[in-house]
């Protein structure tokens, strides 16, 4: 990795940490409304999953539009674990274990789904990831899992089918999801997860394996002829991407009282929204994903006061961001005007 790249990575961490400090100061001085405070954790997990998706779309070059499915797996497995062990394990180790479990399951499913999906190319790959995302959501919607004195019960029909004792505790209740997951996630944890995510992805990009992954993206025939194990590296990038999406899911489920596998959070609309973050932040640009996720997530919320004009302004901002980031003339102008100071949103991170 060259010095310029190292410097670029450090700038990204600095931006995140500066943002964290500013927000914390605003909280301490009472300048942040409770509505805004509620947006902070979602902000971090959307930034995390945007980075995960950028690894898949920008670095590996495979368009996945089912990434919310992996987030869903991370959310449900970790929430189930936290609910089941709420009484028996203290908070800190339990939350760490919840992360490990959520990430491991998301990685496992990323690996399994990657086996068939990564044989496809372009549009076909996108459609199949979309389908897998929907399948995950719908399958989880029909799970019933409970615990009573006799142990674990499982059904895919209804809660009654499990035949539990009266004192039993239904943890996963079909479409009603998981209720009462402990609220362990907060802004600080979210920022730490985001920083770890950035560390992993940016380091990966600067390593031998990252170069191999980008070589496959740029020209898979040449990569193969240069001795790069295409299948292996594709699986590696996709699995890491899924694992990070799982981590976002753990933050998600530990920040919400009732976790349901609903379309609003895990459907393809949500996946497309994250793809919008990635595209507008600059494909392959890790820092851009984080910034775009922050702006585009907060914007509709900040514009709530404008009622009916809200979505109109949101869409105008989307168009403006796209032009600013991608139009060659504007990039030229930005470079001329701001020189080395500019944020280089579209430059490779």
């Amino acid at each position: 990795m060259n010095k310029k790249q190292t410097k670029n990575n450090l700038i990204t961490y600095a931006i995140v940490i500066a943002f964290y400090i500013i927000v914390e100061i605003m909280i301490l001085t009472g300048n942040l409304s409770s509505h805004m405070k509620g947006l902070l954790v979602p902000l971090t997990y959307y930034a995390v999953i945007a980075v995960a998706l950028n690894l898949c779309v920008g670095i590996l070059g495979e368009l996945s539009i089912g990434h919310c499915g992996f987030m869903c797996i991370g959310a449900f497995t970790s929430a189930f674990f936290s609910r089941a062990t709420e009484m028996s394990i203290p908070t800190v180790p339990r939350f760490i274990l919840a992360f490990i479990i959520g990430i491991a399951f998301a990685a496992l499913f990323g690996f399994l789904i990657g086996i068939p999906v990564l044989r496809l190319k372009g549009d076909y790959l996108a459609i199949v990831t979309l389908a897998f995302g929907e399948i995950i959501k719908n399958v989880i919607n029909s799970f019933y899992i409970g615990i009573d004195s006799k142990g674990l019960h499982f059904s895919m029909k209804s809660a009654m089918e499990m035949g539990m004792d009266k004192d039993g505790d239904i943890i996963v209740n079909g479409a009603m999801g998981i209720t009462g997951t402990p609220h362990n996630a907060n802004f600080t944890v979210g920022i730490v997860v985001l920083l770890i995510t950035l560390f992993v992805v940016q380091n990966l990009v600067g390593s031998r394996d990252g170069r191999a992954i980008m070589a496959i993206r740029d020209n898979n025939i040449a990569a193969e002829a240069t001795g790069i194990n295409i299948t292996g590296y594709k699986m590696m990038a996709f699995t890491i991407s899924a694992a990070i999406a799982g981590a976002a899911g753990v933050l998600f489920s530990h920040n919400i009282t009732t976790l349901t596998a609903s379309s609003q959070y895990f459907g393809y609309n949500a996946s497309i929204m994250i793809l919008v973050y990635v595209v507008l932040g600059g494909i392959g640009n890790i820092r851009g994903s984080v910034i775009a996720a922050c702006i585009l997530y907060l914007l509709p919320e900040l514009l709530r006061g404008l009622n009916t004009y809200r979505m109109l302004i949101y869409s105008i901002v989307l168009i403006v961001m796209m032009i600013v980031n991608w139009s060659p003339k504007i990039i030229e102008w930005r470079k001329r005007t701001f020189g080395r100071m500019n944020l280089k949103l579209t430059k490779e991170a």
Binding site: M1, N2, K4, V200, N203, L204, G206, S207, R208, D209, G210, R211, A212, M214, A215, R217, D218, N219, I221, A222, A223, E224, A225, T226, G227, I228, N229, I230, M236, G284, E348
Partner: protein
């Protein structure tokens, strides 16, 4: 002993016998030319040698080792590197990173060390950087090391592709129409580059070419392919004066 020994190689696509009973023996250090009219099956031979296609019949031996049914990756690791007729660089990566991709089989650390930037990461990256810089210097690309490969001029893109192939430390280098699309000056420079590769790395080269000036200028031996069959084989001068070859190229 012959470095590359190909025996009775054949492949059919449907009813078309694209390469039929192809034989070639290349000695170590030789610069060998494969020529023939368009559609003669030259690139198909390259694709067979590098495992992109699997032959229906025949044996390919590299340095005594049978590599006939190995995958492209295994064949690269066994020691065959190639360039492409239409340049295939990693366009959105820097010049030096293109070479480093070629080096990644020889300079290794685990994925975990790469992600966490611990252990062998820094020392191996440093060695890699030194080796890549050395290669770029040989190919006179060290001034462009940090620019994107896509932004290189055409002639330098060809050079970079050869540099990347050389980074995998091959025993045999396959060049698929390296002079395609080049003007006379660039072709001249390319000939110098090929001579340089032979001198610096003591490399054995098999090249496909249409440019007769280049072929007659640098190749020691030739094989002429026509309709998938070997038309003629031998010393460059003899082959190029063979009436059958002239007929195949110019028509009667």
């Amino acid at each position: 002993m012959a470095l590359l020994d190909v025996n009775n190689l054949s492949i059919s696509f449907g009813g078309l016998r694209a390469v039929d009973n192809f034989n070639i023996t290349i000695n170590k250090g030789e610069l060998y030319g494969l020529i023939g009219p368009n559609g003669a099956g030259k690139t198909t031979v390259f694709n067979l040698l590098t495992g992109v296609y699997k032959p229906n019949e025949g044996i390919i031996r590299l340095d005594g080792e049978d590599i006939t049914r190995k995958s492209t990756i295994e064949i690269n690791h066994a020691g065959i590197a190639r360039t492409f007729q239409n340049i295939r660089l990693f366009k959105n990566m820097s010049v030096i990173d293109n070479v480093k991709v070629g080096l990644s089989e020889r300079f290794k650390y685990s994925a975990l060390e790469g992600i966490l930037h611990v252990g062998r990461y820094f020392s191996v990256e440093k060695e890699m950087d030194a080796e890549a810089s050395k290669l770029l210097k040989v190919f006179d690309l060290d001034g462009e090391r940090d620019i994107l490969a896509a932004n290189l001029p055409y002639g330098k893109q060809r050079k970079l592709e050869i540099a990347r192939a050389m980074a995998t430390n091959p025993k045999l280098l396959l060049l698929d129409e390296p002079a395609a699309g080049m003007n006379p000056n660039e072709t001249k420079e390319l000939m110098d580059t090929i001579a340089l590769v032979r001198r610096e790395f003591d490399m054995t080269i098999l090249l496909i070419e249409h440019d007769m000036k280049l072929v007659s200028g640098i190749c020691e031996r030739l094989t002429v392919l026509n309709f998938g069959r070997v038309l003629c084989q031998g010393e460059t001068k003899e082959v190029l004066s063979n009436p059958e070859v002239i007929t195949a190229y110019l028509g009667e």
